[in-house]
């Protein structure tokens, strides 16, 4: 039996025994507790999930945002309608730097929305599940994002809609103070029926630059409330006046954004009415997959505004009295279940996405072991996961032993937005392979498209520092020094600027600098395909005096590309740059495979482990045994015994599609 039912029964019994007590308040207290319990459970669950299940996501969201204490930043935020919400949103997004704190602030505002809805639309405790709907929908507008976090062009987006809804609720609350204050009550009583007709248009006109579409939505809610109230309480004249008022508001919702548009140059007339909403594409395209995704993304917003309008229409009409009958209980259960279902469906729960984010932070921390190990959690990894893992193993010096012991492949990315590595983790890959110009290029390209972010600034600092462009590095350090949580990072890197001789001695920079020094300058393009570009470049470009790390990276690239022709020179270069007691496992495997495919190469002087040779023979034997099977069938049979070999990768990890 559920808690609230127990409470309800206790109270019923109490009612029978207590002759001085009226029954209704006791039942109300029961519902109040129930609603508080529901909010508490909601808050704790959402906070717990965000802070402890998605900490890497929250941190990534913070790194893909920027708030700077400077008037230039303020001015650039305010040059679009709803800029104030974006500015405050950027400020609040900083706190995701500490996921526990950031999630707490976020959840606190969701709870505030619940209480405001309940208060303003006079939703009784027994129907408090209804008041939870906007908070759940707001949550869904963000938890659905997934890879959109790399592409969304909406500064402060995580908070903009939430803050916008708070603005709607507070303004509606103020409006109701005007409209429904009692005759003769202090301040608003005298002006009743006069001021509220002025408030909505004035709020819309002066609120639009600050709150954009949320000012429009607020005034529409006010119009709905006015019309609904007039039908309930007033005669024909009142209905006519309210309808006129609603018509004026409706007209202003169309006209005011256009009037204000004359003062803005950063937004097209086509979008001005939607200022403050994320810039998901409005126009459907020929791509059905893309369109389905978009409809999905807009749904929480549509439902959110619809809910607020419905509350405005029926607010105050929800019965607060009556027995807790079956209909009431069933409806509440259904609402709760639907909300939970909706929240679950709209929680982007992609394991690969989570792994990529975790790897990203491990790589920033130089925690190469974890960066590699996270890749083991993937079923079929994305190419970003594979690249991150290979970089981590290269840095750990474990590539030759472990590279093909991890899940491999190229999982499709579940996103309506077309995802390129350049935006997700390509910058990190370029940096770690010593391609500083390309890392910096994508920082700048993405800053143009999506605005500067902490992540781009940090990459830019490292790249410019290591390529000797100290003036530019100082520029980006200076910006980071004006952030709340990244100033310490910036100051640490500023020390290198003040003493550049320390750069080459810093262990963190050792491998990127060795890679960088192995290249000579050429002109080329990557066409946004980071892995293809890097693997091709590493395989084909041979410096006169490659650093040992470059020789190994080249060998890894050749193996990834399954390039039998380039394998032998790459292996030779690897031998010449490494003092080896034993050739690492996977390189032995590759050597056996390629020598078997090309018998003209003499490898008799290269020592191969007996176990590796025996395993290879077993692999070849098994191949003959399974001849005639389809590739998929063979892959299944080989997985258990040979899934961690280069041979398996060579023959069965096929059709790799890099994004």
């Amino acid at each position: 039996m559920e808690t609230y039912e127990l409470l309800f029964m206790t109270m019923k019994n109490k009612k029978k025994n207590d002759t001085d007590t009226v029954s209704q308040p006791l039942v109300a207290i029961d519902y109040a507790k129930r609603s508080k319990l529901m909010v508490a459970v909601f808050a704790i669950v959402v906070w717990g999930l965000l802070a402890f299940y998605e900490p890497a996501l929250l941190k990534r969201i913070e790194e893909l945002s920027l708030f700077v204490f400077d008037e230039t930043f303020w001015n650039s935020s305010m040059n679009v309608p709803a800029g104030l919400l974006g500015y405050i949103g950027c400020f609040l997004m900083q706190f995701f730097y500490y996921p526990v704190l950031g999630a707490a602030i976020y959840v606190a505002l969701l709870v505030l929305v619940y209480f405001l809805v309940k208060k303003i639309f006079t939703i009784p405790d027994r129907w408090s599940s209804l008041a939870m709907i906007p908070s759940v929908l707001l949550l869904a507008t963000n938890t659905q994002l997934g890879y959109w976090i790399f592409y969304i062009k909406h500064p402060g987006y995580y908070y903009v809609t939430l803050l916008g809804v708070i603005v709607i609720l507070l303004s509606v609350w103020l409006y109701r103070l005007f409209e429904f204050s009692k005759e003769g009550s202090w301040l608003f009583g005298v002006a009743r029926r006069r001021l509220h007709y002025l408030f909505a248009p004035l709020f819309l006109f002066f609120g639009f630059p600050l709150f954009g579409v949320y000012a429009s939505a607020a005034s529409l809610c006010m119009a709905v409330i006015s019309v609904a109230a007039s039908f309930k309480r007033e005669g024909k004249v009142g209905i006519v006046i309210s309808s006129l008022f609603a018509t004026v508001v409706l007209f202003m919702v169309v006209a005011v954004p256009l009037v204000w548009h004359e003062s803005y140059q950063m937004i097209s007339q086509d979008y001005v009415h939607a200022a403050g909403l994320p810039a998901y594409h409005w126009v459907l395209t020929d791509d059905d997959h893309f369109n389905r995704g978009l409809m999905r993304e807009w749904l929480p917003f549509i439902l959110l505004f619809a809910t607020l309008f419905l509350f405005s229409l029926f607010g105050g009409s929800v019965p607060s009295e009556g027995e807790a009958d079956l209909r009431y209980k069933t409806t509440n259960y259904v609402i709760l279940m639907l909300m939970i279902l909706f929240a679950c469906l709209y929680w982007y729960n992609d394991n690969n996405f989570r792994i990529e984010n975790k790897q990203n932070f491990a790589m920033w921390e130089g925690d190469w072991r974890n960066a590699a190990d996270y890749a083991r959690d993937a079923d079929v990894p994305t190419r970003q996961i594979v690249m991150n893992k290979n970089i981590a193993l290269l840095y750990l010096g474990r590539a030759g032993e472990e590279m093909f012991t991890y899940p491999d492949g190229s999982s499709d990315i579940d996103s309506p937005v077309k995802v390129h590595l350049t935006q997700t983790g390509g910058k990190m890959s370029y940096y770690n392979y010593g391609n500083f110009n390309y890392c910096y290029r994508w920082c700048v390209e993405d800053a143009v498209e999506y605005g500067w972010k902490v992540e781009y600034l940090k990459h830019s600092v490292r790249c410019m520092l290591l390529s000797g462009e100290y003036k530019l590095a100082r520029r980006y350090i200076n910006i980071l020094k004006h952030t709340l949580f990244h100033s310490a990072w910036a100051e640490r890197y500023e020390e290198f600027l003040d003493n550049p001789a320390r750069i080459s001695k810093e262990p963190e920079f050792k491998i990127p600098l060795q890679m960088y020094s192995s290249y000579t300058d050429i002109l080329d393009v990557d066409d946004s395909f980071v892995e293809v570009y890097l693997m091709k470049k590493l395989s084909k470009f041979t410096p006169e005096l490659p650093a040992p790390i470059y020789a190994e990276a080249q060998l890894m690239a050749v193996l990834t590309r399954k390039d039998a022709k380039m394998f032998w020179p790459a292996l030779s270069r690897y031998f010449s740059t490494h003092k080896l007691k034993r050739l690492p496992l996977h390189y032995q495997e590759a050597l056996l495979l390629f020598s078997n495919l090309n018998s003209s190469v003499d490898v008799s002087n290269i020592p191969i482990d007996k176990a590796v040779r025996m395993r290879f023979n077993a692999f070849m034997q098994r191949s003959k045994q399974y001849a005639g099977m389809s590739e998929e069938e063979m892959a299944q049979y080989f997985t258990e015994d040979f899934g961690n070999t280069y041979w398996y990768f060579y023959f069965f990890v096929r059709k790799i599609k890099s994004n």
Binding site: D70, Q265, S268, T285, N437, Y438, V448, D521, I522, L523
Partner: protein, 501 residues
């Protein structure tokens, strides 16, 4: 009683405010070193009508006082940021015109005040044109998003948008804008281009704006780099096929190359275009008319295919360092509308260099151009410097007084030929900023100074480059929304006339 209280309150408030004002310390030691300030305005020459030069003192100290003085006028500013008000500044400049404003910086550390070696702002009686315009663009490679062509009043800090692509472009369809130009520094004849979505050229002719499509089947592309003839009603354009490719290691980062380019003439009355120079093996770019309107200057590079690659474009990319531009000119007959033979003005290629962007001072005396090692897009070339060529004596020299060890390009002469405005990357090597320098009658420049802003640390956070700076004597009258309205409409197609001889 109330009045007395109010009076007393006012007096007290005034006394408090006055006592809070900065004052030059009575006792101080003297330093022989100049203070460190940003922007570096030490000993620059400024026009007598420029907006206040604001700066931050970057020398570390506990407290700061700065005294700016000229004759008997003085202005004392407290704090690290020195931001004189416009009225106070004008008062100072009035006293200092033809002389200088002395700047004394006092810094305090551990309770002791020190006076740094003073520096000056030399105030030239030569006024500067009141307006400039520029494109604000992130220092981008391929992507673009929000771009504006903006105008700035140099006598104060007012900046307005002339056109913003965000007014027209959509999320899916971007619009690039570029190449604003004016006839004789006035805005009743001006133009700028829009590319891709709703593309065309916004052309204002005698105060009437229209959108034209300058592309024809007989020319390489629509018009690109423009130059209004100052006397006759024609505009010269280069037409270009431009590509971008990226350095993997070089600090220049990007090469913007013309893979093909010619020069055309547009007649806005007849709405026709004519080819001027379209030789197969020559790349012609950046046309510029002489002040008398009778000579057309431009940069040209001769490029012979050596079959080192599969196609011409790949070869041009591979041999990008071999592409070197000279500055040439051709005589124009405005009656017959024909051009004479090509006359080489500055053979940079013979020196192993590349000269582009010829700009002649309105008095006809000097040719200013950008010289680098190779190529035409010197804004990305760290080695690019401004050179001045005396058209009377044919002497040529680097404008060392104004140059830096970083890229300088995109220069423009003021209407009185005494000021130059140019783009430089000296601040942080990547973001182009606008610098102004005085050039005297003998062609000698002064130290260049950064375009002043109301906030001295404005540039630290401003993430746009200033592109194609141009002087104007009046602001553009059309609003961005008026231009946007036209931009949304269809472009008027130009007609092609047979090649000019």
């Amino acid at each position: 009683m109330k009045t007395r209280i109010l009076k007393l309150f006012s007096l007290t408030l005034s006394a408090v405010l006055l006592s809070c004002g900065p004052a030059v310390p009575e006792k101080f030691g003297e330093l022989r070193t100049l203070p460190s300030i940003y922007p570096d305005y030490k000993d620059v020459t400024i026009p007598c009508n420029i907006a206040p030069l604001t700066f931050d003192i970057t020398t570390e100290a506990d407290d700061y006082v700065t005294r700016l003085s000229a004759g008997d006028a003085a202005l004392v500013v407290g704090g690290r940021s020195v931001k004189p008000s416009i009225d106070e500044w004008r008062g100072l400049l009035e006293k200092a015109t033809g002389a200088s404003v002395s700047v004394e910086v006092f810094t305090a550390k551990d309770g002791k005040w020190l006076l740094h070696k003073p520096f000056v702002f030399n105030v030239s009686p030569d006024t500067i044109d009141s307006y400039i315009s520029y494109r604000l663009i992130p220092p981008s490679y391929v992507c673009y998003e929000s771009l504006t062509i903006s105008q700035r009043n140099l006598t104060n800090y007012d900046e307005d948008v002339i056109y913003n692509n965000m007014l027209v472009q959509t999320e899916n369809q971007g619009q690039c804008i570029n190449c604003h130009a004016y006839k004789n520094y006035r805005t009743d004849n001006m133009q700028f281009h829009m590319r891709q979505f709703k593309g065309g050229t916004m052309f204002v002719h005698n105060g009437e704006a229209r959108k034209v499509d300058l592309s024809t089947d007989s020319t390489l592309s629509a018009g690109v780099y423009p130059s209004f003839n100052p006397v006759y009603d024609v505009v010269a354009y280069s037409v270009n096929t431009t590509g971008q490719i990226f350095h993997t290691k070089n600090a220049n980062k990007v090469e913007v190359q013309d893979l093909e380019s010619d020069v055309i003439i547009y007649d806005p009355v007849a709405n026709t275009v004519t080819n001027v120079a379209n030789s197969k093996n020559d790349l012609e770019v950046f046309p510029w008319w002489s002040p008398d309107g009778l000579w057309l200057y431009y940069g040209t590079a001769h490029f012979e295919v050596k079959d080192t690659a599969n196609d011409l474009m790949t070869e041009e990319i591979m041999r990008y360092r071999d592409i070197k531009y000279d500055i040439v000119r051709r005589k124009w007959d405005p009656v017959a509308k024909t051009f004479g033979a090509t006359d080489t003005v500055f053979a940079a290629s013979e020196l192993g260099k590349s000269a582009t962007f010829p700009r002649i001072s309105p008095d006809g005396r000097y040719l200013l151009f950008a010289l680098g090692e190779y190529g035409c897009f010197h804004v990305w070339h760290k080695d690019a410097d401004l050179y001045i060529y005396d058209l009377n004596t044919k002497d040529c020299r680097p404008l060392s007084e104004a140059n830096s060890s970083y890229a300088e390009s995109y220069h423009s002469w003021s209407s009185n030929s005494r000021w130059i405005l140019f783009a430089s990357r000296r601040d942080d090597t990547n973001y182009t900023r606008l610098y102004i320098a005085h050039v005297d009658a003998a062609g000698k420049a002064s130290k260049a100074f950064l375009l002043p802003q109301q906030s001295p640390h404005f540039y630290n956070f401003f993430d746009r480059s200033y592109n194609v700076p141009e002087f104007m004597v009046e602001p553009v009258r059309f609003t961005p929304h008026e231009f946007a309205e036209l931009a949304r409409g269809d472009a008027q197609k130009v007609k092609y006339e047979s090649d000019s001889k």
